[in-house]
Amino acid sequence: MIVAERKPFAEIAQAVAGYRRVLVVGCGTCVAVCLAGGEKEAGILAAQLDLAGQLAGRQQRFATACVERQCDREFLSELDAAAREHDALLSLACGAGVQFLAERHPTLPVLAGLNTTFIGVNQDVGRWDERCRACTDCLLSLTGGVCPVTMCPKGMVNGPCGGAVEGRCETDPERDCAWTVIHARLSDSDRLANLEVLVPPRDHSRANLPGRQAHAAYLRRYSSHD
């Protein structure tokens, strides 16, 4: 899932300071799971902003709404009527959701309440770890299910750099060297031969541009050229 964290309160308060009626819009999927931008967090933030606005002597009103996903039009449409009643929308979605909401309301200021951090996994209640860089060319079958592009800070794809110390990364003694883990995993699953594959330079041409993809069925329906 996509992991995000709330921006510092002072930054959010400053961003909304100039607006009288603000709708805080939560997102009920990824950012709700990571306790950053769901219905509950939207409510808490609205209450905090309300209090801060009163203390600063500003005439502001904060309402909340939450949709299932801000990255889907069918859910965003639920907000259309409420959005028209406000001077600004404060989105607690990931960066994709904020942009989709802004695209739907081009005349309204749409502000971001979160910093999107990574694509990751839920390690424990309240702890998430990055696992994927969405690089468009997955090496996981080769590398024992451990991503060197994500888990090695240098993204080395042909083996470790020389900086690992006792199997730990040169950037952080608390962090395993990704290639030590890859080697152990491939050894345990009897696939060490995978390591001998010389991985050529990555083709970044797709990831360099804003991503776009279409399902084959979509193309069949809407495009004369498949």
Binding site: K154, G162, E196
Partner: protein, 260 residues
Amino acid sequence: MTSFAQAIKDKGFVVTAELDPPRGVDLGPLMALAGRIGAKVDALVVSDNQGANLRQAPWWAAHRLAETIPAEVILTLTCRDRNRLSLGGDILAAAASGVDNLLLVSGDFVSLGDHPQAKPVYDLDSVQALMLANGLAQGHDLNGQELAGAPELCLGAVLAPEARPLAPQLVKLRKKRAAGAGFFITRPLSGPDALKTFLQEAGELGAPIIAGVQAKNPEGVAAAAEMAKAIRAGGLAQGLHLSASGDPETLASLVEACGR
């Protein structure tokens, strides 16, 4: 064959010394140090933003050294600060300016240096950088497109004999060799035994090893010289790579003690 490759072959044992470009525009002190030690070594290795700390780009010092000092010059290029276009362009420019020995390295991560906020590049890893350079030497770029004039290059890579576990390092080493590394310079060694252990575990590399010997200060020169002597006497390496954490006087003493 470049003259550094020739020197390794002919002499059987070479001595190199590492020079860091200045943190400013004055190349004078580096040239003065090179003048003092240049006749006592076979090659001078110019570092590239050593330790991820900002310094003058190494190609200028490498070019000036190649023009004025009798020793060979080895230019270090990191993958940290360059994408494939920049690496390829720098290699061609270096060769055009008379520097055809390269040490191609991943590069210490940016968080270890003086600009931890920088975006690291690592478009290629060190194996792929060797593939790129090897291709250029054969007259084509990474996409197989022909060059107008190919450089003659001698390619080197870094070796970490003391990294543990060793098995993943050996995988990388074999790939570096396959990608065209003609010599290996080791990270600074803790002692001759570390190299001996490595050689027993790694077996034949098929390329000369130049053993990293570092003195961090003047007081460390004697011990480093002892280590160098033991490495040479034990036939553990085909050369020494002398470095001194950027201290010119320490490097000069170390070269005096271990150089030709």
